[in-house]
């Protein structure tokens, strides 16, 4: 196996045993990016020089015996996450020239461990999308089939990891943006509980839903990254102070006796692909061999999740994106007066989906419509949360398909916003409830496209979700 194909755990082992150096590992990844990025398009910015410099420092740290499991391991960051002194566009031209003077807390934490930053990943602009086609830097191609999307919004991150251009990636998940690309590209990806990881330095989309989490090749790697990323941050007042468990320590602990809820609404959804259903159902049945009890459950408000999500998200989007006006930073477009400067800057700097969402949100929040749309959606949100709370009194985890279907052809849904929204059918309910969700690869369709299984747990029970995911990953 080539070094750039390794998992974090294996790469750390190789570095520790001096089988290869951090510079060699970074060089292998950079070479792979150079060869493959023109096709896959997972990177908007590649930091060749600084990456090699960071790798040299990592080698010194390894030689000095003060390495952690992440030291010298190359990674990439979704472009909607700010990295100090590295261009961060959010995949929108309005920030084409933006170089942040600050850095997201989770990225600081990872880099303090000595990980090597290779660059910034293409995504749907500001996280708006399910296919990475809403990027102003071109679509991302799925490494398993280059005619298909890599998923979204973190499509560039997932494609880059799946294509072995980096060992792991840090991304953001508001309504499936980590889990769905993980499932489309055959990776493990975790949306943590809302409030578990700091969002300081993340370009905000829907503040009541946004989370930041890892995409990696194995559940163990995801658990390892969560140990580093999680925890309270004074810079993000929504982060909780609950202690961060040693997620990797209990992964292998048996799951005998665990109750796994199987929600009928997720398996009876119109549009659920037959092969996806079959692969996921078979995997869930296999859990019985580990001593799990399968419990049929119902989450009756599931069918309203997308409607709730596509009111709350555009509303919060429209407010959050108000800051992007071309005045203090980013790309300004001229106009006759100040009003035209704002209007032209935003018209030319945002892709269509961003503008569409800002307008839906502006409409939904405007006088006379607020109660009918935003407040109504927040009320139904309560009912969706109560669905999950009730069910988690009976079961320990819930298992569902991550996405109703595998990766779809580039261009198939890009002209139909509502069809694109429906691609998030299984991802948004858990998002709205603020609970953790992990996508684990469980097989391939006959056409060779990966299928993901989503494990959900109660709030802040990432440890349990990761443990179940680990066992699913290791079922034969």
């Amino acid at each position: 196996m080539e070094t750039h194909e390794l998992t974090i755990t294996k790469a750390a082992e190789g570095l520790k045993n001096k089988e290869f150096s951090a510079v060699e590992l970074a060089t292998a990844c950079l070479k792979r990016i150079e060869e493959r990025n023109p096709v896959i398009n997972g990177f908007i910015t590649v930091c060749t020089e600084s990456a090699l410099e960071e790798a040299r420092k990592a080698d010194e740290r390894i030689a000095a015996g003060s390495a952690s499991p992440l030291t010298g391991v190359p990674f990439a960051v979704k472009d909607a996450i700010c990295v100090k002194d590295v261009r961060s566009t959010g995949s929108a031209k309005i920030l084409d020239t933006y170089v942040p003077a600050h850095e997201a807390t989770v990225i600081q934490k990872i880099r303090q461990q000595g990980s090597v930053l290779l660059g910034k990943n293409n995504c749907d602009a500001f996280g708006h999308g399910a296919s990475n086609e809403n990027s102003m830097y071109g679509p991302v191609r799925n490494p398993h089939d280059e005619t298909k999307v890599a998923g979204g919004s973190s499509g560039g991150s997932a494609a880059a990891v799946a294509d072995n251009q980096c060992i792991f990636a840090i991304a953001e998940d508001t309504g499936g943006s980590i889990r769905q690309p993980a499932s489309f590209c055959g990776l493990a990806g975790l949306r943590p509980s809302y409030g578990r990881n700091s969002r300081y330095g993340i370009m905000p989309m829907a503040s009541s839903l946004d989370t930041v989490g890892p995409l990696a090749k194995t559940v163990e790697d995801v658990a390892l990254l969560m140990e580093v990323m999680a925890g309270n941050d004074p810079m993000d007042p929504t982060t909780v102070s609950d202690p961060v468990p040693a997620y990797t320590h209990h992964l292998r602990k048996e799951i005998k006796g665990l109750k796994v809820g199987v929600p009928k609404e997720y398996f009876e959804t119109e549009g659920l692909d037959g092969e996806t259903k079959q692969i996921v159902e078979e995997k869930i049945l296999q859990l019985k061999t580990l001593g799990c009890e399968l419990v049929p459950i119902s989450l009756p408000y599931t069918k309203y999740a997308i409607a709730v999500y596509y009111i709350i998200v555009p509303s919060e989007d429209s407010s959050n994106l108000g800051r992007l006006d071309g005045i203090r930073y980013g790309v300004r477009k001229e106009g006759e007066n100040l009003f035209d400067v704002y209007g032209n800057t935003r018209a030319e700097g945002f892709p269509e989906e961003v503008k569409r969402r800002i307008m839906i949100g502006t409409y939904a929040l405007s006088a006379g419509y607020y109660d009918a749309y935003y407040r109504k959606a927040q009320k139904v949100r309560t009912l969706i949360m109560q669905d999950f709370e009730r069910v988690f009194r009976e079961v320990d985890v819930i298992a569902t398909p991550t996405s109703p279907f595998p990766a779809f052809p580039i261009g198939e849904k890009s002209d139909d916003p509502l069809q694109m929204y429906l691609a998030d059918a299984f991802a948004v309910g858990p998002s709205v409830a603020g609970i953790p969700g992990l996508s684990v690869p469980v097989g391939f369709t006959k056409a060779g496209l990966p299928v993901g299984l989503q494990v959900l747990g109660p709030r802040l029970q990432e440890e349990r979700v990761l443990r179940v995911g680990y066992h699913i990953e290791h079922l034969s």
């Binding site: 003077a101 005045i327 035209d340 009320k379 309560t382």
Partner: protein, 101 residues
């Protein structure tokens, strides 16, 4: 609720949202956003008379920090100034706000 938006509705919303549009844009957005709003209509089936709204899920309330003044390091100040799209010396340059009044 009127769910069929017209090009005029979009013009109004786009003005509020500070996004310049062409008539062609407005027609397209009116059509697309109407379809989305129509889908969202399904929320009206749900009886929420007695349901409180959820604004956040952490249960955290009134999270405060020390009210201390933290100076902006010169290095950061320089970077922020360098990021201005247009400037005059170290000042941010913008179009007149009050239109000569």
């Amino acid at each position: 609720m009127p769910t069929k938006l017209t090009s005029a509705d979009i013009a109004h919303v786009a003005t509020l949202a500070r996004i310049s549009t062409t008539e062609e844009d407005r027609q397209k957005y009116a059509e697309q956003i109407s379809v989305i709003l129509e889908y969202i209509e399904m929320l009206n089936e749900v009886d929420t008379e007695m349901t409180p709204e959820t604004c956040q899920v952490t249960g955290l309330e009134d999270v405060f920090r020390e009210d201390t003044v933290v100076a902006c390091p010169e290095e950061v100040r320089e970077k922020l100034i360098a990021a201005f799209p247009e400037r005059m010396g170290r000042l941010l340059k913008v179009k007149a706000v009050f239109d000569g009044e």
